[in-house]
Structure formats: C-alpha cells, structure tokens
Symmetry: C2
Subunit: 242 residues, 2 copies
C-alpha cells in the first residue's frame, strides 16, 4: 500500500456521490466561465465572491451587502442583475475591494453539492489559476476530488481538460486508481499544445455556445494558464483568496 | 438543421437519464467481459442469452428452462452457478443450441435501466462484434445512445474506447452534439493501434482487476475486433441473434 493520498476525478455532478468528499479537498471546475471569472475577480482585488444558485438570491444578497450582482442565463445578463459572467467585466479598477455576488448554474450547484457532502475543503480551479491549485494540492497532502461542473450533468471537454492539466502536474504525489483521471490526462496530453484548437476541432458543445455569443476572447482567456493565479477557497459562504 | 439521427454517449449508468432512451437504439457496452461473452456465446450457436441481475434469479431461471447458469462475483464463479464470465467457456461444441442464463453486475443493470426507460431497441456491443453493431446502426437510421456499463457507476476506459470505436465508424451518418462522444473518439484514436497496451499504460482499473485473476487471454480477446461478429438484440427477456 502506498501512503500517498488519493486523487479522483468526478466528470459530472451526477457522479460526485461515488467519491468520499467528506475526506477530501474538492476542486470545483467550471472552466467556461464561472471558475475562471472567480479567480480573475479575486486576483484583481475583489474582497470575496459569493456563489449563489438563483437570480433572486443573488439580488437579495446583493442588496444586503451592497455587492455587485452578476450572472447570466442563456448567454445574457439575467434580468435584475448588473453584470455578466465574463472575466473581462472585472478589472482591478472596478472590482478591487468589492464583493461579487455571482450566480451560475453548473459551478454553483456543484459547489453546494460538495458542501452538503461535507467536503473537508472546497477550492475553485480554472486554467487562469492552474498553478495555484496544483501548489495548494501538493502542499495539503490530502485526498483530492477534481469535480467537473459539466453542463446540466453532461460531461464536457473543457472541464475534463482542466482536470487532466492538474493531474499532469501533481500525479507523482497521489495514488490515482481512477479511470476518469487517466482519461482526463490522456485528453490533456493530446490537447495541451492548442487547447482552443482542440475544443474547436472536437466540436465541444460549450465552445459553440459561447462562439455563437461572440465570446472567442473569453474562451481564449479561460484556456490560458496562470493569468489570475490565486487560490479561491470557500469559507463561511464566501470564496476568498487563501 | 440536419436530418441525420442523433448519437449520444452515456459514460456511466448514472448518466443514462440525461438522454432520451425512449426514442433511441441503446447499445449496452460492457467490454470486460459481459457483452464480449454474450456475443461469443451467440456467435457459437447459443439459442439465447438471458441476462439476470442476481445469482438467485439466475439459478431459478436456469432450473425452469434447463439453461446453463453462469456468473461471477469477485472474480470467481458465483456459488450455486455452473460457469463463469469468460468467453472461452462457451465454445460451439458446448454452447450450440443451449440457453445461457448470465448474471453480471454492471452490464445487466444498465440493460434493465434502458428497458425501464422504454428504449426503442436494445442491442449489446463489444469489440468482438464491433462491425455487426456499426452495420446495424447505419441500417437502422435511428437515434442512438451508446451506453457504457462502467464499474459501479464509475467511468471506465475500456467501455469508453468501444464507444469511440463505434463513433469512429459511423459518425458521418449522425448528428453528434455530445462532448462525451467526442471525448470517446479522441481516446479511441489515441489507443486504437494497441488497445491492450493502452489499458496497461493508462492503468485502467479493470485491466488490473482481471490481470490479478490471470485473465490476460480474456482481455486480449475482448479487445480484438470481430471475433464473434453477430448482433445480440433484446427481445422478450432474451438476447438473440438478429
């Protein structure tokens, strides 16, 4: 038996129950674009990001704490909110010192699932903060679950690729008896030279969804490593920089 | 809009509910070894294979119809049954004209799930009958769900690879808006030159499980194309050759 901690990848929220979150650091992965935007807002000085699961809750909390309310539904800023899901909406001059109340569907839902399952710790991961995530996992030496937010429970390529990128960097330090992890790493190895081209070539459904909204710039940013290299960690209802 | 039928891949039984089985041909995939053994027994002249979900049910039906009872639990022939899950146990001289009552965990469970969801048609797929499956899907021109049996709901590499092999052959004839399918095909493209070597190199968990039982010969057979090229189709509780 190895003494290394374990690492598992959950390719969809519908598979999270298969893994023991109560004993693990859970990395929430929602590459396009929730967790990329969270890293970016915190990197640019936001005091915290509060992830909420509905527009009404977003408005309510936004009022209470005088926070920035943000979230999209079907590619548009949701009615009643002020801003959208794009990382480019949160430059330092706008977001520094403020609290962002963000509602997203897949990422927020997975985070709350991990919370309900009593995750030991919850952090968020995306290519813009890949190194911060990997450094943290190596430092913690705890069991890890890489949790892909997917799209309405359907596995997606971009979250799988990010899981593969993490595995690629940390695998020597974990026991990985998990085909989903091996699969994610194979995909990443294949894609890493040109992640954008890989999504395009392989017809990733979310790539198409965003390209239809003319968000190529967002996609390229969300696939670029370490542009907002902080570690968002969930504490008392908020994501803050560790 | 394209007039082509759709194709989706469900990487785990826990994801099957995301797809509309009622309108689809569902291909049950349990490469190591249930669906490989089913194809082999039918190819070698078995009259039918009855998939059941428990050892007690297997014994009961075996008695009623004087069938061969078969199934394993934890790598051994289950107590009370006569034979195991290996395709090599069912040569023509033994199985021709007989009915095989087979209990497996993952594959049988998925088949029954597809049945409950009112699948339009259920067939079984494995590398030994890859071409028969592809020919059938091309002929039917119906929507398709490639259903991986996985391992206790955890995604596995070998079922994913078979889904990829099917997609690789039929994709021009389907609308595939499904990242799981693209992911499966990328994996297959990467693995196809040496499927056995790929499972070994990528530490596939089921590969290890079977290698520990000294079943390399089974694995190699189950990864070889068209050795038992018939199409098992589910009709009135039995898998028969179409």
């Amino acid at each position: 038996m190895s003494n290394k901690p374990t690492l598992f990848t959950s390719l969809s929220p519908a598979l999270l129950h298969l893994y023991d979150a109560s004993n693990s650091v859970v990395v929430i992965i929602d590459v396009l674009r929730a967790t990329s935007t969270i890293a970016t807002a915190l990197f640019n000085g936001a005091r915290s990001v509060i992830p909420v699961d509905s527009v009404s809750r977003c408005m309510e909390i936004g009022r209470q704490i005088e926070g920035i309310t943000a979230g999209e539904r079907d590619g548009k800023i949701a009615e009643g909110l002020e801003y959208g899901n794009s990382p480019f909406e949160y430059p330092r001059e706008f977001v520094a010192g403020k609290t962002l109340v963000l509602t997203t569907t897949n990422g927020t839902r997975l985070l709350h699932m991990a919370l309900e399952k009593g995750a030991r710790e919850i952090v968020t991961g995306s290519f813009p903060n890949l190194s911060a995530v990997c450094d943290h996992l190596l430092e913690m030496k705890q069991n890890v679950i890489l949790g892909c937010a997917a799209w309405k429970d359907r596995v997606n390529i971009e979250d799988t690729l990010f899981a593969g990128a993490v595995i690629n960097q940390v695998k020597e330090h974990f026991t990985i008896n998990c085909d989903s992890s091996h699969l994610a790493e194979v995909m990443y190895e294949k894609a890493k030279k040109d992640l954008f081209g890989f999504l395009k070539k392989n017809d990733a459904s979310h790539y198409h969804r965003l390209m239809n909204f003319e968000l190529e710039k967002d996609i390229r940013y969300c696939l670029t490593q370490d542009g907002a290299n902080v570690l968002p960690i969930y504490m008392e209802g908020k994501l803050v920089v560790k």
